[in-house]
């Protein structure tokens, strides 16, 4: 790649001569507002010409998928492009066997990646997709070595290996990464599982919207339940308890996520969950309200409960204090300690 194997010539290309279906060089699937871009092009003009490659009688896009789309929206007939001329002497060398065709492909690929990442910082999914395409021709060490010029940033080999492994997740995995339903850390955990297990996890994580730590917690606990109960991950994840929550269309995504999390926790730690619920119920039944808090010991390992309230005024202090003294007469309070 030290020497460029192509020449770029500026020319106006008929939009009908562009093969829109061929997206082999597409790196970015960002949700650009094409209407706004189209309007901008109408008012300011096309600032950066797209990059096209002439293949037989058609052009395929190396860089500028959204710009071409915007032109179509503007009902333009042509677009200004930098066209790679396949009749260059270097390319002719392919025919003579002096250069392998895949060497040319890498060069176009690098051009496509460069066009994307020097324009904006690649998203993780764009980076993964680029790495997957590059990994066909280069090992992770080579990519790491070249990463500065390829990606406008240094990447180490381990990270590249991890991203390539994540790239092997089903297309749903990358889609969830893109939509924020799946974090890179969680994807990394999934990347070591087998295909069917990955799919059921993706279905679950796609149905909720959890933070990275909660995604990791769900993956960990579900995997452990599966091992503990000697059940397939599919049967654990698609158990009626979890499915009922997932299928409930009457609850919002945040509530659904919390309920799924609680359900998984309950399956993983049934006795601990029950104890927590019991104590919570007993504390609530004391009717102390929000101002007076009772915190049981973490995981009930220690024995100390914490009672606390805050007061801005003496009157408030007396009110909270009285609530507590009333609770002293309540057997349910005694019950909490003997749980």
């Amino acid at each position: 790649m030290s020497e460029r194997l192509y020449e770029l010539k500026i020319s106006d290309v008929d939009l009908t001569d562009i093969d829109l279906a061929d997206d082999r060089y597409r790196i970015s699937h960002s949700q650009t507002n094409t209407a706004l871009l189209a309007q901008s092009i109408l008012e300011i003009g096309l600032v950066n010409p797209v990059v096209l490659l002439l293949v037989h009688d058609k052009h395929i896009i190396i860089s500028g998928f959204n710009r071409v789309k915007a032109h179509l929206l503007n009902k333009a007939l042509t677009i200004t492009a930098r066209v790679i001329n396949p009749e260059t002497s270097k390319q002719k060398a392919i025919g003579s066997g002096a250069i392998k065709s895949e060497t040319i492909y890498i060069d176009y690929l690098v051009l496509a990646i460069g066009a994307a990442c020097f324009k904006h910082q690649l998203s993780q999914v764009e980076l993964i997709k680029s790495l997957i395409k590059l990994s066909v021709f280069m090992d992770a060490g080579h990519i790491a070595h070249k990463s500065g010029t390829l990606f406008n940033t240094q990447l180490n080999q381990k990270y590249i290996d991890e991203l390539i492994a994540i790239g092997q997740l089903q297309p749903q995995g990358l889609a969830l990464l893109e939509s924020g339903h799946l974090s890179i850390k969680a994807a990394k955990k999934l990347s070591v599982l087998n295909g069917p297990d990955v799919l059921v996890f993706l279905m679950l994580l796609g149905a909720v919207k959890a933070s990275t730590s909660v995604q990791l917690e769900m993956i960990l606990y579900l995997t452990e339940i599966s091992k503990r109960d000697k059940l397939s991950l599919k049967s654990v994840i698609q158990s009626s308890e979890i499915e009922t929550i997932i299928d409930d269309e009457n609850i919002d995504l945040i509530t659904k996520t919390q309920q799924v999390r609680d359900c998984i926790y309950q399956l993983r730690f049934p006795e601990l969950f029950k104890a927590r619920q019991d104590v919570k119920q007993k504390i609530n039944s004391l009717g102390l309200g929000r101002a007076v808090k009772i915190e049981p010991p973490p995981n009930f390992e220690a024995q100390q409960f914490t009672f606390s309230f805050t007061a801005k005024t003496y009157k408030q202090f007396v009110r909270h204090f009285n609530k507590l003294t009333t609770a002293v007469q309540d057997l349910k309070l005694k019950d909490i300690f003997s749980a």
């Binding site: 091992k227 503990r228 000697k230 730690f269 601990l272 009930f300 220690a302 024995q303």
Partner: protein, 364 residues
């Protein structure tokens, strides 16, 4: 696991103890100036822990030969005294904390019966009861077939009347100590578990009945006995399975021969989990309801511990009401709810154990 590599530190004196050991191992030793080549050899393996179990390093003990069990805050310790005769183990228990405790784990045999003798005699001179054991960082009897140490220790303790030696094991290696004069000052102790757990988690150890046969044999030679239900593992039907183990104990031995029985549920440093998952893929032992304990070890959720303890203690007491049963590293709530009392004062549990040792082993 069988030893297939033997390293000896060059400075080790080749006396009867070492010559006997080398001849019994039956492998040409490699002499090394320090532990570095041993560490390198072990760490080069895909599974350093397995390799360490097959690599014996005969060396001098560079640290304390004898010391108090460190215990931990928040949980009651039995005030045991540890005699260091070696580290690590040839058996392969999934839950063994030594896998994560040493970095890397090295199967060390500490040479020098004289140094053991010297530190013990200093202890004996204090005219105080010590319960001394070698089973904290290794199994007390893994080297019995090839080493003079167990016999030496039993004989050394037999000549005094203030302290007891506890040899704790999962083997049946008692031949060399069976017919010697122990003077009742050695307690032979077996870790016990259910056949399910022995079979699935305690790889390379003796079966339950073999351990109890050995205990019976030891009892017939006048040895005092102890048993340790540690770790208790919670799994479906475990209560009945542990009760059956208790039934078996009393089929084999007399309650009067048992100095104490300890019980403790499985607990582990969090980093052991990864080791278990890597080395024992089929093990489900770390997927119980564990919470982070006050000593930063993972422990079963307390009500589950208490439930199992209650069952076991009650069953044990049915057979032997006066038997000293104690918890290893448990807190006041567990003691109170299970035993109905708590040795709250510092050294109180230790004093109870000393008392039982005195009674059973005729200590001054």
């Amino acid at each position: 696991m069988k030893i297939n590599r033997l390293y000896i530190e060059k400075t080790i004196v080749h006396d009867d103890e070492i010559n006997y050991l080398i001849s019994k191992v039956g492998i040409d030793p490699e002499f090394v100036s320090d532990a570095t080549p041993v560490y390198e050899y072990i760490n080069a393996a895909m599974d350093p822990i397995s390799r360490a179990k097959q690599t014996l390093f005969i060396t001098n003990n560079k640290g304390a030969v004898i010391r108090e069990c460190p215990g931990t805050t928040n949980y009651t310790c039995c005030d045991y005294t540890i005699l260091h005769t070696g580290t690590f183990c040839t058996m392969d228990c999934s839950y063994c904390i030594l896998q994560a405790y040493f970095h890397p784990p090295v199967l060390q045999y500490f040479a020098g019966l004289d140094s053991l003798k010297n530190v013990l005699e200093e202890k004996f001179k204090l005219n105080k009861t010590f319960r001394i054991g070698t089973g904290e960082f290794t199994d007390s009897l893994i080297w019995e077939k090839i080493s003079l140490t167990p016999k030496f220790l039993v004989e050394t303790f037999s000549k005094q009347n203030t302290s007891v030696l506890e040899l704790k094991t999962k083997t049946v290696n008692i031949k060399s100590v069976l017919n010697i004069d122990h003077n009742g000052k050695t307690i032979l102790a077996w870790s016990l578990n259910t056949p399910d757990i022995i079979h699935s988690q305690e790889i390379g150890t003796a079966s339950l009945t073999a351990r109890l046969e050995a205990a019976k044999k030891a009892e017939s030679k006048g040895y005092r006995l102890a048993f340790h239900f540690d770790p208790l593992v919670i799994y479906p039907d475990c209560e009945n399975q542990y009760k059956k183990v208790i039934d078996l104990i009393f089929e084999y031995v007399n309650p009067g021969s048992i100095v104490w029985i300890s019980i403790g549920t499985f607990r582990f440093m969090p980093n052991l989990k990864q080791v278990i998952e890597q080395r024992f893929a089929d093990s489900t032992i770390c997927y119980g309801e564990f919470i982070l304990g006050l000593d930063n070890k993972m422990r079963y959720f307390k009500p589950l511990r208490i439930q199992l303890y209650r069952t076991l203690v009650s069953h044990l007491k049915n057979y032997a009401p006066d038997l000293l049963v104690y918890f290893c590293m448990e807190d006041e709530e567990v003691w109170q709810k299970t035993m109905g009392f708590f040795p709250s004062k510092e050294g109180e549990l230790g004093a109870l154990l000393d008392e039982s040792a005195s009674k059973h082993c005729n200590l001054n």
